[in-house]
Protein backbone atom coordinates (compact mmCIF):
# COMPACT_ATOMS: atom_id res chain seq x y z
CA UNK A 1 0.00 0.00 0.00
CA UNK A 2 1.51 3.30 -1.06
CA UNK A 3 1.01 5.97 1.55
CA UNK A 4 2.54 9.20 0.38
CA UNK A 5 4.32 10.72 -2.59
CA UNK A 6 7.77 11.92 -1.58
CA UNK A 7 9.12 13.36 -4.84
CA UNK A 8 7.22 13.90 -8.08
CA UNK A 9 8.55 13.52 -11.60
CA UNK A 10 9.47 17.19 -11.93
CA UNK A 11 11.45 17.21 -8.67
CA UNK A 12 13.29 14.03 -9.63
CA UNK A 13 14.05 15.26 -13.13
CA UNK A 14 15.34 18.59 -11.81
CA UNK A 15 17.63 16.90 -9.29
CA UNK A 16 18.89 14.42 -11.89
CA UNK A 17 19.69 17.32 -14.24
CA UNK A 18 21.62 19.06 -11.46
CA UNK A 19 23.66 15.95 -10.69
CA UNK A 20 24.23 15.29 -14.39
CA UNK A 21 25.46 18.86 -14.77
CA UNK A 22 27.82 18.50 -11.81
CA UNK A 23 29.26 15.26 -13.18
CA UNK A 24 29.67 16.89 -16.60
CA UNK A 25 31.66 19.76 -15.08
CA UNK A 26 33.73 17.56 -12.75
CA UNK A 27 34.66 14.99 -15.40
CA UNK A 28 35.09 17.12 -18.52
CA UNK A 29 37.67 15.43 -20.75
CA UNK A 30 37.82 12.33 -18.51
CA UNK A 31 35.25 10.01 -20.14
CA UNK A 32 33.91 8.75 -16.78
CA UNK A 33 32.51 5.28 -16.33
CA UNK A 34 29.20 5.34 -14.49
CA UNK A 35 28.72 2.04 -12.67
CA UNK A 36 25.27 1.28 -11.29
CA UNK A 37 24.46 -1.30 -8.63
CA UNK A 38 21.57 -3.39 -9.93
CA UNK A 39 18.64 -3.49 -9.84
CA UNK A 40 16.98 -0.58 -8.08
CA UNK A 41 19.29 2.08 -9.53
CA UNK A 42 18.62 1.16 -13.17
CA UNK A 43 16.03 3.88 -13.82
CA UNK A 44 18.20 6.49 -12.09
CA UNK A 45 21.26 5.47 -14.13
CA UNK A 46 19.26 5.62 -17.35
CA UNK A 47 18.13 9.17 -16.61
CA UNK A 48 21.42 10.29 -15.12
CA UNK A 49 23.54 9.22 -18.08
CA UNK A 50 21.23 11.15 -20.38
CA UNK A 51 21.62 14.22 -18.16
CA UNK A 52 25.40 14.03 -18.44
CA UNK A 53 26.48 16.27 -21.31
CA UNK A 54 30.01 14.91 -21.83
CA UNK A 55 31.07 11.57 -23.30
CA UNK A 56 30.70 8.82 -20.70
CA UNK A 57 30.16 5.10 -20.49
CA UNK A 58 27.93 3.15 -18.20
CA UNK A 59 27.98 -0.34 -16.82
CA UNK A 60 26.35 -2.32 -14.03
CA UNK A 61 27.31 -4.64 -11.21
CA UNK A 62 25.08 -6.84 -9.07
CA UNK A 63 25.66 -8.27 -5.62
CA UNK A 64 24.60 -11.39 -3.79
CA UNK A 65 21.71 -10.78 -1.39
CA UNK A 66 21.93 -11.09 2.36
CA UNK A 67 18.91 -13.38 2.49
CA UNK A 68 20.29 -15.78 -0.10
CA UNK A 69 24.05 -16.05 0.33
CA UNK A 70 26.67 -16.75 2.97
CA UNK A 71 28.75 -13.74 2.05
CA UNK A 72 28.65 -10.73 -0.18
CA UNK A 73 30.13 -11.04 -3.65
CA UNK A 74 29.65 -9.69 -7.15
CA UNK A 75 27.21 -11.88 -9.06
CA UNK A 76 27.56 -9.59 -12.05
CA UNK A 77 30.74 -7.66 -12.72
CA UNK A 78 31.52 -4.77 -15.01
CA UNK A 79 31.90 -5.75 -18.63
CA UNK A 80 34.98 -3.57 -19.09
CA UNK A 81 38.01 -3.06 -16.88
CA UNK A 82 37.92 -0.03 -14.61
CA UNK A 83 41.69 0.19 -14.19
CA UNK A 84 42.81 3.75 -14.83
CA UNK A 85 39.23 4.90 -15.38
CA UNK A 86 37.33 7.63 -13.55
CA UNK A 87 34.46 5.72 -11.94
CA UNK A 88 31.22 7.15 -10.58
CA UNK A 89 29.52 4.44 -8.55
CA UNK A 90 25.75 4.86 -8.49
CA UNK A 91 23.50 3.45 -5.77
CA UNK A 92 19.75 3.79 -5.33
CA UNK A 93 19.95 4.18 -1.54
CA UNK A 94 22.68 4.40 1.07
CA UNK A 95 21.73 3.68 4.65
CA UNK A 96 24.25 1.75 6.78
CA UNK A 97 26.89 2.15 4.08
CA UNK A 98 27.91 -1.50 4.52
CA UNK A 99 27.11 -2.50 0.95
CA UNK A 100 28.88 0.51 -0.43
CA UNK A 101 32.04 0.02 1.64
CA UNK A 102 32.33 -3.51 0.24
CA UNK A 103 31.84 -2.34 -3.34
CA UNK A 104 34.23 0.58 -2.95
CA UNK A 105 36.90 -1.63 -1.37
CA UNK A 106 36.57 -4.16 -4.19
CA UNK A 107 36.60 -1.59 -6.97
CA UNK A 108 39.51 0.41 -5.47
CA UNK A 109 41.62 -2.74 -5.52
CA UNK A 110 41.30 -2.62 -9.31
CA UNK A 111 43.10 0.74 -9.35
CA UNK A 112 40.66 3.11 -11.02
CA UNK A 113 42.00 6.63 -11.62
CA UNK A 114 39.32 7.85 -9.22
CA UNK A 115 36.17 6.56 -7.56
CA UNK A 116 33.31 8.74 -6.39
CA UNK A 117 29.86 7.87 -5.09
CA UNK A 118 26.48 9.04 -6.29
CA UNK A 119 23.22 8.00 -4.67
CA UNK A 120 19.63 8.76 -5.48
CA UNK A 121 18.55 8.49 -1.83
CA UNK A 122 20.45 8.85 1.41
CA UNK A 123 19.53 7.88 4.97
CA UNK A 124 22.57 9.20 6.83
CA UNK A 125 21.06 8.68 10.29
CA UNK A 126 21.59 4.91 9.97
CA UNK A 127 25.17 5.12 8.73
CA UNK A 128 27.67 2.64 10.18
CA UNK A 129 30.42 2.65 7.57
CA UNK A 130 31.68 6.15 6.78
CA UNK A 131 30.99 6.96 3.16
CA UNK A 132 31.93 10.01 1.15
CA UNK A 133 28.94 10.76 -1.04
CA UNK A 134 29.87 13.25 -3.74
CA UNK A 135 26.50 13.37 -5.51
CA UNK A 136 23.27 12.97 -3.54
CA UNK A 137 19.76 13.06 -4.91
CA UNK A 138 17.56 13.33 -1.86
CA UNK A 139 17.87 12.73 1.85
CA UNK A 140 14.88 10.67 2.91
CA UNK A 141 13.15 10.15 6.25
CA UNK A 142 12.81 6.76 7.89
CA UNK A 143 10.31 5.35 5.40
CA UNK A 144 10.42 2.46 2.94
CA UNK A 145 10.68 4.07 -0.47
CA UNK A 146 9.30 2.61 -3.71
CA UNK A 147 8.97 3.75 -7.30
CA UNK A 148 11.48 5.10 -9.84
CA UNK A 149 13.18 1.68 -9.91
CA UNK A 150 12.87 0.88 -6.21
CA UNK A 151 10.74 -2.13 -5.37
CA UNK A 152 8.86 -3.87 -2.60
CA UNK A 153 9.23 -7.58 -3.36
CA UNK A 154 9.55 -6.75 -7.04
CA UNK A 155 6.59 -4.37 -7.24
CA UNK A 156 6.35 -0.63 -7.94
CA UNK A 157 9.60 -0.27 -9.88
CA UNK A 158 7.71 1.10 -12.88
CA UNK A 159 6.22 4.07 -11.04
CA UNK A 160 7.71 7.34 -12.30
CA UNK A 161 7.72 9.01 -8.88
CA UNK A 162 9.11 8.18 -5.46
CA UNK A 163 6.64 7.12 -2.79
CA UNK A 164 6.72 6.13 0.86
CA UNK A 165 5.28 2.66 1.25
CA UNK A 166 2.72 2.46 4.02
CA UNK A 167 4.68 -0.14 5.93
CA UNK A 168 8.05 -1.78 6.18
CA UNK A 169 8.11 -5.38 4.99
CA UNK A 170 7.83 -7.90 7.81
Amino acid sequence: MIAERLFDEAAIAARVREIGGAISRDYAGKNPMIVGVLTSCAVFVADLTRAVTIPCEFDFIALSRYAEAEGISFIKDTSASIEGRHVVLVEDTIDTGLTLQYIAKTLRARQPASLEVCTLLDRPHRRIAPVDVKYRGFEVPDVFVVGYGLDYNGRYRELPELYAHGSWPA
Binding site: L38, T39, S40, A62, R65, Y66, A67, A69, E70, G71, I72, T93, D95, T96, L98, T99, Q101, Y102, R126, R127, I128, A129, P130, D142, F144, L150, D151, Y152, N153, G154, W168, P169, A170
Partner: protein, 107 residues
Protein backbone atom coordinates in the same frame (compact mmCIF):
# COMPACT_ATOMS: atom_id res chain seq x y z
CA UNK B 1 35.51 -19.46 19.53
CA UNK B 2 31.72 -19.21 19.63
CA UNK B 3 30.36 -15.88 20.84
CA UNK B 4 27.51 -16.08 23.32
CA UNK B 5 25.18 -13.23 22.53
CA UNK B 6 22.79 -11.84 25.09
CA UNK B 7 20.05 -11.43 22.50
CA UNK B 8 19.09 -13.13 19.26
CA UNK B 9 19.06 -9.83 17.40
CA UNK B 10 22.70 -9.29 18.31
CA UNK B 11 23.59 -12.65 16.79
CA UNK B 12 21.70 -11.75 13.64
CA UNK B 13 23.42 -8.40 13.49
CA UNK B 14 26.79 -10.11 13.82
CA UNK B 15 25.85 -12.31 10.86
CA UNK B 16 25.02 -9.19 8.88
CA UNK B 17 28.46 -7.75 9.67
CA UNK B 18 30.07 -11.07 8.69
CA UNK B 19 28.17 -10.98 5.41
CA UNK B 20 29.69 -7.59 4.63
CA UNK B 21 33.16 -8.70 5.79
CA UNK B 22 33.18 -6.16 8.59
CA UNK B 23 35.30 -7.19 11.56
CA UNK B 24 33.51 -6.92 14.91
CA UNK B 25 34.23 -7.54 18.59
CA UNK B 26 31.33 -8.34 20.89
CA UNK B 27 31.23 -6.45 24.20
CA UNK B 28 34.87 -5.41 23.86
CA UNK B 29 35.29 -3.29 26.98
CA UNK B 30 33.49 -1.52 29.80
CA UNK B 31 33.62 2.24 30.19
CA UNK B 32 33.36 3.82 33.67
CA UNK B 33 30.59 6.36 33.13
CA UNK B 34 29.86 7.41 36.72
CA UNK B 35 32.40 7.97 39.49
CA UNK B 36 31.91 8.77 43.17
CA UNK B 37 33.47 11.68 45.02
CA UNK B 38 36.70 9.70 45.47
CA UNK B 39 36.98 8.99 41.78
CA UNK B 40 36.00 5.34 42.00
CA UNK B 41 33.94 3.99 39.14
CA UNK B 42 30.46 3.15 40.36
CA UNK B 43 28.71 2.59 37.05
CA UNK B 44 29.99 1.01 33.87
CA UNK B 45 28.73 0.75 30.34
CA UNK B 46 29.64 -2.08 27.95
CA UNK B 47 28.66 -1.38 24.33
CA UNK B 48 27.48 -4.39 22.33
CA UNK B 49 29.90 -4.19 19.40
CA UNK B 50 33.14 -2.54 18.42
CA UNK B 51 33.99 -2.24 14.73
CA UNK B 52 37.77 -1.70 14.54
CA UNK B 53 37.60 -0.82 10.83
CA UNK B 54 35.54 2.26 11.64
CA UNK B 55 36.68 2.82 15.24
CA UNK B 56 33.00 2.75 16.11
CA UNK B 57 31.02 1.23 18.98
CA UNK B 58 27.47 0.06 18.36
CA UNK B 59 24.80 -0.32 20.98
CA UNK B 60 21.62 -2.12 20.10
CA UNK B 61 18.34 -1.70 21.91
CA UNK B 62 15.64 -4.18 21.18
CA UNK B 63 13.95 -3.55 24.47
CA UNK B 64 11.00 -1.70 25.87
CA UNK B 65 10.93 2.11 25.77
CA UNK B 66 11.67 2.16 29.53
CA UNK B 67 14.84 0.11 29.14
CA UNK B 68 15.73 2.08 26.05
CA UNK B 69 15.65 5.31 28.03
CA UNK B 70 18.17 3.71 30.43
CA UNK B 71 20.45 2.96 27.51
CA UNK B 72 20.03 6.47 26.18
CA UNK B 73 21.18 7.76 29.55
CA UNK B 74 24.24 5.50 29.51
CA UNK B 75 25.15 6.59 26.02
CA UNK B 76 24.77 10.23 27.01
CA UNK B 77 27.06 9.69 29.98
CA UNK B 78 29.58 7.82 27.81
CA UNK B 79 29.66 10.70 25.33
CA UNK B 80 30.13 13.21 28.14
CA UNK B 81 32.87 11.16 29.83
CA UNK B 82 34.65 9.97 26.69
CA UNK B 83 33.96 12.57 24.00
CA UNK B 84 36.46 10.98 21.61
CA UNK B 85 34.66 7.62 21.62
CA UNK B 86 32.32 7.20 18.66
CA UNK B 87 29.18 5.26 19.50
CA UNK B 88 26.00 4.73 17.53
CA UNK B 89 22.71 3.57 18.97
CA UNK B 90 20.64 1.17 16.91
CA UNK B 91 17.07 0.96 18.11
CA UNK B 92 14.79 -2.02 17.63
CA UNK B 93 13.19 -0.16 14.72
CA UNK B 94 16.56 0.54 13.09
CA UNK B 95 17.55 -3.10 13.35
CA UNK B 96 14.24 -4.35 11.99
CA UNK B 97 14.37 -1.92 9.10
CA UNK B 98 17.92 -2.76 8.13
CA UNK B 99 16.90 -6.40 7.81
CA UNK B 100 13.53 -5.58 6.32
CA UNK B 101 15.17 -3.57 3.56
CA UNK B 102 17.49 -6.45 2.71
CA UNK B 103 14.66 -8.97 2.61
CA UNK B 104 12.16 -6.95 0.61
CA UNK B 105 14.25 -5.68 -2.26
CA UNK B 106 14.05 -8.28 -4.99
CA UNK B 107 17.68 -7.39 -5.81
Amino acid sequence: MVTRFAHRSEAEFARLLDFYEVEWIYEPCAFPIVRDALGNAVEWFTPDFYLPQYDLFLEMTVQSPRLQSRKNRKIRLLRETFPDVAIKLFTRRDVERVFSNRRARAS
